[in-house]
Symmetry: C2
Amino acid sequence: MPAANRPTSRDVAQEAGVSQSTVSLVLGGKWAGRISPGTAAAVQEAAGRLGYRPNQAARNLRLGTTRTVLLMVPTLTAPFFGAVYAGAARVAAEHGFGIVVYPWPENAGPADSPFAAPGEAIDGILASSMPVQVLAPFQGTPVVMLDSDPAGPVPTVDFAVADGMRAVAAHLGALGHRRIGHVAAAIGQWTFRERGEALAAAVRALPGGAYGRQEAALDVGAAKDAALRLLDGPLRPTALVCDDDLMAAGAYKAARARGLPVPGGLSVTGFDDLQLATALEPELTTVRLPAADLGAHGMAALLELLEGRRPVPRSLPGELVVRGSTAEPPA
Amino acid sequence: MPAANRPTSRDVAQEAGVSQSTVSLVLGGKWAGRISPGTAAAVQEAAGRLGYRPNQAARNLRLGTTRTVLLMVPTLTAPFFGAVYAGAARVAAEHGFGIVVYPWPENAGPADSPFAAPGEAIDGILASSMPVQVLAPFQGTPVVMLDSDPAGPVPTVDFAVADGMRAVAAHLGALGHRRIGHVAAAIGQWTFRERGEALAAAVRALPGGAYGRQEAALDVGAAKDAALRLLDGPLRPTALVCDDDLMAAGAYKAARARGLPVPGGLSVTGFDDLQLATALEPELTTVRLPAADLGAHGMAALLELLEGRRPVPRSLPGELVVRGSTAEPPA
DNA sequence: CTGTTAGCGCATTCAA
DNA sequence: TTGAATGCGCTAACAG
């Protein structure tokens, strides 16, 4: 018997000397001009005294909703998504919603039925950094996509990643860099395509600018290899722009392997501004992406959607944070 | 109207030509010797055909349980806890349970009532790496604590952190280190007390062993300062043992600030083996803590508890991972 | 202004 | 071996 015997709305009604429906109205906040202020106050007070909390299960059954949304993320072992969750959870809590997290495709295992576990009892979905196709099994459920192609069929909240990359290119360009290598994430996602296109265009717009590109999986070792290919290739880059802070760590390793000091011999930039950015030595010049804000605005948009309104697409600005990993190119 | 009209058990009953209660019995798996195999099969088949999934809200209301557990973690923006969640969620899903995460005290804000958001509708609690006191508002709810004092009043699943620290000390001792500094987390938690005591004892047990200790908050900058105090102090350590990988990154910075190469001039060790450990240069010698296993075993223990059994306390072994940050002390 | 009533979908007695 | 009836706690339509 897990649940202690909590007071019900009937108990409150009895305590306040009114009927159960009156309690429901008052506590539901919709008694404006239907219940006398005196009675309302009495009910509130009785509820407080008893420590009454409505039974969610009953509420859900009656209303046909759950006040729960699903947050789909590619993985939870990346701190970025922890921040997204935190932001979303804060807004959700303010509106009496809960969030259940679903790492996809990490859990794409048994598939007895898609989403056996959390698939039930969901009012809406927040899907971060994934292809639209994964939402196919959820036809009809309101969805807001985060960090995804705003041209898609569902409402989105995004980062202005293109602006971020342009800021990186401008910063590097002002320092005097012209031959710039891109350690790109080998992930077919809007956010990375966007970064790549923006960077390539910006670098090529530099007088004498030359852009090179190598792709790698999102981990240190693969990024190091890609950086090495760039350093050993024909471009002879003086700066390496990485799609993400973790990849920048790989670039540091590549630089060290070739005897190039950062930033004296090679400038390196990241993207995200995770804790890792300041753990590295030297500290990383990177673009700060407000992950918590992404979650918060996404949740707000989903709430609008659930109320029947159409949320306007939003794009959150990133901010270039200049630290110790960028300097003038070697003479 | 968020929820599409899903079939109910009544629909299944109609489809199978039986009564609703029969459906309930069959699908509940308790028809052994009460329903004829033929009828049972017909019901199963009808349910499958209709794609029937029981309505959780109704089920919860009737049963008084929620098949949901609360996972309390200090923060979600640390990848360690993401892994704990993933492990717990996997086991939970196998048993038809869901998990809602609650970062505490991050959300300890409004406090209109303790845990307004997720406090309802919870069958049990998994609390990782926190003091017992935070569970005071949840008297009566089954709890399993993770990474906490096993001598406490509730069932626990832990890491053998003391063994881990002894392995670190043995490794360092074998390399020839005698003067060992401890960059300790300034957090009053069992897991850190345990680490500190084990390390101090193990170092002092070394012939000629000397132990020094400085505390710092769990971030890079504070850890760097603490490491600096150790390096500048009377101990003149040849190795710095850190309570956590992030603090080790701070120790790297301190070493660099004093012109000491790692590992040639100073050996450094961490704890946890997060992604950061291999992002650093040189890669970090550390103790791998199986975070996902912690979550998995914790969830299993909680399920036992919910079934009325008393889970046996468990301690998961850590593993020393020797990488490039430790070497013989300078001559 | 307030109370009575019905029913959300399910598991479970009890009667047949 | 099965079906009819009941109620979990809540909200909302309808009466008074």
